[in-house]
Amino acid sequence: MSSSTKRHSMMPRAGTLPKAPVNLSSSVVIHDNAVLTGNHTINISSETVIHPRNKLDSSNGRVTIGRRCIIHERVQIGAPSADPTKGEFGVTLEDYVTVEVAAIIESGCTTIGEGCLIGVGARIGRGAKLGKHCTITARSVIQPGEQLPDFTVLYSNGTRRIDRRGVTELKNKAQARQIDIMRKLIPTNLARFKD
């Protein structure tokens, strides 16, 4: 084969990883470079935006993403944890969740509540349960099985406080605006991920 002299693309190709069975709403925006892999179902609800180089892995359990979520680039959702236990449920993201660049959400009954913000490079351990409208700042780590009450802000390597700004409505509105723009900027071809 002359393939040894050919340059190899670093892009994850569709052939290399098994395509996951998906259930996508027609209003979802997924960049072509995202990867949806695994053998459980990946559900993505309406108006969610998925940036390039994401990896949604359902091989350790079902991945469910709610409405109007934004998943930034290089995020790994459903990443295998240190002691992977295969289960029915992998990761659930409720509505209006934002996951920023290079965050990792491990698989295994992990739940991210409505309106949460997962910062750049944060890591959410297996089975963690985040309440509604939590903010996890950049490079924070949530241990496996940890539970956070609603409106928790986690910052500075594990310091916590409660967000009492009461801006959830505004935040959700801003998120919707952002999605409107993303829809124009990110080309999407849902057929690529289906079947």
Binding site: E73, G121, R139, D180, I181
Partner: protein, 204 residues
């Protein structure tokens, strides 16, 4: 990218001396401006596609504005796995991304994520750092490893920044600005690198 015939190698070298790895992830290349002599290593990600969508303030008089979303100066060095993306916010009732401007001699370490509004010249961003949205970093700033710079922070010149969240923890010592020089580092990367004749020091 340059259209002339390239010899096969890991890097694409352009006429202006940029060295861009073939394994780098540049999205929306038409919106990325490289000043020249800039190195982009494998797996670095540059999001040029997130362009400004709101029209600029009325003062421009409706002139067709350039839609460049990322400006990078000369002698910048983007290490493996780093990510540059323009910051975005609500502006006049609509969400828009704003351009990210990076000066000359800027080093971005491995797996760092930069979403600043402006990075000055001679800035060293170590590995695993996060520069938050709309941060403004002035010249001769050293950002230590793993620093998380919060959104909208302004960092004055000659600061050393560290911690999570990032704080100014020191000053670049007098005469210390030589270490920000990136010309030597530029020469260490490329397709046909001659073996080092003398043990040149690297400002890593």
């Amino acid at each position: 990218m340059s259209s002339r015939k390239q010899v096969k190698g890991e890097y694409i070298e352009t006429d202006t001396g940029n060295k861009v790895s073939r394994k780098a992830n540049l999205i929306g290349t038409q919106h990325i401006m490289l000043g020249g002599k800039t190195v982009i290593m494998a797996d670095a990600m540059v999001r040029g596609d997130l362009t400004r969508t709101a029209s600029a303030a009325g003062s421009s008089g409706g002139a067709p504005q350039s839609n460049t979303s990322i400006f990078i100066g000369r002698y910048c060095f983007l290490s493996r796995g780093c990510c540059l993306r323009p910051p975005g916010r609500i502006y006049k009732g609509a969400f828009t991304y704003m351009p990210l401007r990076i000066g000359d001699h800027v080093f971005v370490g491995e797996n760092s994520v930069v979403q600043a509004a402006t990075i000055g010249s001679h800035v060293h961003i170590a590995a695993n750092a996060v520069v938050g949205e709309f941060a403004i970093v002035k010249d001769y700033v050293r950002i230590l490893e793993g620093t998380v710079i919060p959104a909208n922070m302004v960092i004055p010149s000659f600061s050393v920044v560290g911690g999570q969240p990032g704080r100014v923890i020191g000053e670049v010592p007098e005469g210390g600005h030589d270490q920000f020089e990136m010309r030597d580092m530029y020469k260490t990367v490329g397709n046909n690198i001659p073996p080092p004749a003398s043990p040149g020091h690297l400002a890593v």
